[in-house]
């Protein structure tokens, strides 16, 4: 008996073949869809669109950095008042940096990443017909869509978008008169982010609830693929940390609009003494980073989960240290709530407190290292298939290592005095978060494209895309470490005008061209993506020879995922190249009774009857002598 809950107002029973299925109109199928697979695609396409917009913004400010005293009439044509006489306006430069960061962190790597893959994979890999609440799921997408539109609309207000950086620290952000970007642009930013948080919470609540309540028969927690573990813990982080941001933002809104003094203290703006008294801007930093640090793990953990799955599948080897992977994800999740102070070492915090945050921060490196070693051990002597997805997953590991190492320097409260707010930080988080998470997301797109669209993406273009992006990202971000060590501050409009930093101009030019190259490389992806949706090669049901449940569902999308009964699960998802089996993979739906020749005693750990049957079988079929 299979049942579908497709409407919020009721429950419908269906028989196996879905014959009397309700009819979808265009609007309910493509627009206000409540089907998790369609919602996943909506998130993906919106996410990709936002990513391209944010990337374009970054190219614009890179041009400014490389050519601070050249004029480009084209820029004036494109940007109008934001680039008078063909040079980007300093205030607009700040807006570009701010909106680039905001869109990338929240709209692409949070909503675009979790929204796409949690929606697609949680029901499919767990064997559920849909999410716990499909209606809430739909609301989640539309709140996200609205948030995106509002965020972008801030480019069309007179004074331009918010410009206080993605962390919107007060007092700058709390005083509408402080600079153009603190005016309407900031208001729109806040409205957009409130909607965004609502969307994330609705999504996250749904993911957690689905994972805990709707797994198919046999799918106990320790048989879940690592993707699901990652999405699950990510959702928990979101559910616990986003409300804190809301609290911070609510207080900020009161300071901005009603004149309270939570964050603002005695201050003079443009020669005018403001009425505020006694507030504490540090309070905002606490509230912001209590979300902000878990947020960076909200960004990276789904990417880590995705690459576990892809690396194991394409190495044709069981994931190394499955339990260790899960425990490190749990460890990272717990620790991520007690390290936020490492963003605030130089706020004048008590050095003892700084020491505490330093220790917790450095402890996080342990589970992170466990994960990287496990990836490497999985790859070790694997029978590797270098699909584009696999390359991107390996790329993630590379970036996670090289960016994670610099975290150790920053996490040191004494070293951070020099490094804080320099390009060293920019290099750190663009490698460990920006590049790694984007690579995880792209790996996921290449890998699950056949599941989403029923067709394969072109491999050649995939390789081109990978190598240009991989090399480009290192060329862009690696030199920034050296600038940071030299003390070059971040978020400066034209730092090369200072004599002491003038020598970095040539590096800036180099970085800008590397960025343009990697930007152009994304066109290969975009073309591949769009082309393959319509004209790509048709896929088979299980193109990668994968074990997880989503590949047991038919290629054509059904409302309810499986035409008949939901498959039952008998084993963990990583039985690749199991000795004694005739194929190099055994899907989760194959019971042990069908794979006698490859069973091991520990497959029957808590299954007495099975173990006995297996022992009998072993006696009846003694292993043949090896012929040397």
């Amino acid at each position: 008996m299979s049942t579908l809950a497709v409407h919020d107002h009721g429950v419908e029973s269906h028989d196996h073949d879905h014959e009397h299925h309700h009819h979808d109109t265009f609007l309910t199928k493509y627009v206000f869809s409540q089907d998790h697979k369609m919602i996943a695609k909506q998130f993906l396409i919106t996410g990709i669109t936002m990513a391209f917009i944010a990337m374009t913004l970054s190219i614009l400010f890179r041009i400014q950095l490389a050519y601070p005293d050249k004029t480009f009439p084209l820029l004036h044509t494109l940007l109008g008042r934001f680039a008078p006489e063909g040079r980007i306006d300093p205030n607009f430069y700040m807006s570009l940096v701010t909106i680039h960061g905001t869109i990338m962190v929240f709209f692409v790597l949070t909503a675009g990443l979790s929204g796409t893959f949690s929606n697609l994979l949680i029901p499919l890999q767990l064997g559920a017909r849909d999410m716990a609440s499909p209606f809430l799921n739909m609301l989640s997408y539309w709140a996200f869509f609205l948030a995106s539109v509002i965020m972008l609309s801030s480019f069309f207000v007179q004074k331009g978008p918010a410009s206080g950086g993605w962390t919107i620290y007060p007092p700058l952000s709390a005083l509408p008169k402080a600079m153009p970007g603190s005016g309407e642009g900031m208001t729109l930013w806040l409205i957009s982010m409130v909607l965004f948080v609502a969307s994330s919470l609705m999504g996250g609540i749904n993911y957690v609830s689905t994972v805990l309540n709707m797994r198919t028969k046999g799918m106990d927690l320790w048989k879940m693929p690592l993707t699901i573990w990652a999405f699950f813990l990510t959702a928990i982080l979101g559910v616990l940390s986003f409300p804190v941001l809301v609290a911070g933002v609510v207080l900020l809104i009161f300071d901005r609009s009603f004149g309270t003094s939570f964050y603002l203290s005695e201050i003079v703006v443009q020669g005018q003494v403001m009425p505020f008294e006694g507030g504490s801007p540090i309070l905002f930093e606490h509230l912001f980073w209590f979300l902000g640090h878990p947020e960076v793990y909200i960004v990276i953990m789904p990417a880590l989960g995705i690459s576990s799955e892809i690396i194991s599948t394409n190495s044709r080897k069981p994931i190394f240290g499955y339990h260790a992977m899960v425990y490190s994800l749990i460890g990272i999740s717990v620790l991520s709530f007690i390290v936020w102070g490492h963003h605030m070492f130089v706020t004048g915090m008590n050095p003892f407190l700084g020491g505490v945050f330093m220790i917790t921060t450095l402890i996080i490196a342990v589970p992170s290292a466990v994960k990287t070693f496990n990836y490497l051990a999985t790859l070790w002597r694997g029978n590797i298939r270098f699909t584009p997805a696999m390359l991107f997953a390996i790329g993630l590991v590379s970036f996670f290592i090289s960016g994670g190492l610099t975290g150790l320097f920053l996490g040191n409260a004494a070293l951070d005095i020099n490094l804080h707010d320099t390009y060293f930080v920019v290099a750190h988080f663009h490698l460990v978060m920006g590049s790694a998470a984007i690579f995880g997301m792209l790996a996921g797109v290449y890998h699950w494209f056949p599941k989403m669209f029923g067709r394969l993406m072109d491999e050649k273009l995939g390789y081109l895309h990978f190598w240009l992006t991989f090399i480009g990202a290192y060329l862009v971000f690696f030199p920034m470490h050296f600038m940071g060590l030299d003390g070059v501050p971040r978020r400066y409009y034209a730092f090369t005008e200072f004599p002491s930093m003038a020598r970095w101009l040539s590096v800036n030019v180099f970085i800008t061209w590397a960025a343009i190259m990697s930007g152009v490389a994304q066109i290969a992806f975009l073309f591949n993506f769009v082309y393959s949706i319509f004209w790509g090669k048709k896929t088979t049901q299980n193109p990668w020879g994968s074990n997880t449940l989503e590949w047991t569902a038919p290629v054509e999308h059904l409302h309810g995922n499986w035409p008949g009964e939901i498959p039952t699960v008998y084993r963990w998802p990583y039985d690749y190249s199991k000795p004694g089996h005739h194929e190099d993979f055994i899907p989760q739906t194959v019971p042990y009774s069908e794979t006698m020749s490859s069973n091991l005693s520990h497959d029957f750990e808590d299954n007495e009857a099975g173990l006995e049957a297996f022992k009998k079988w072993q006696i009846a079929n003694p292993p043949r002598e090896e012929v040397k």
């Binding site: 716990a132 609440s133 919470l201 996250g204 609540i205 616990l240 809301v246 009603f258 606490h286």
Partner: protein, 193 residues
Amino acid sequence: MIMAQIQQEDKLDLAPKKFNMWLFIFTSFMFFAALTSGFIVYSGGSGKGIKIILPHAFMYSTAVIIISSVTLFIASRAAKQLQFEKQRLFLWLTAILGIAFLAIQIYAWVLLVNMKVYLVNSNASQSFIYMFTGMHLLHVIAGLGLLFRALSGSYKNIPQVKNLFRMEFAGIFWHFIDIIWIYLYVFLLLNQY
């Protein structure tokens, strides 16, 4: 037979929705935890406390919301025992007590203003009183919405599984609101001087 099957499926389907409510409660809890932590950071850093005796009105509102939890509990039990008249009566009582709570909180604001304790204040500890109560009132309004949804369901004679589900859904949230208020009130009391 078919009825029984559908009911069983119903349960399967409603359980995750109820679970969603529990998760939402966690988010709300974190929200208030953040506000109160913000208060601690602020008052600890600035050395400014609330520095007033809270109006007694808060004591009355606390009593009212606790009683409303009791009446809601009685309504739920009545619903389980198929005494729908009683269920409706006590739901109404709960809703009225909820509205009374709302009114008393607003009255307390008036009292605060009369004491010259304003929202816009150079001592943000005092502004925090408004934030706590105001944000809590938003939750109360949402809770009233759920109560009325349960009421309307009961009047429309929706199936008993659903009726119970709506009751439970509203119940979980309402008791949570009650507990959060007690937490906030005790927190304020402990910090009033």
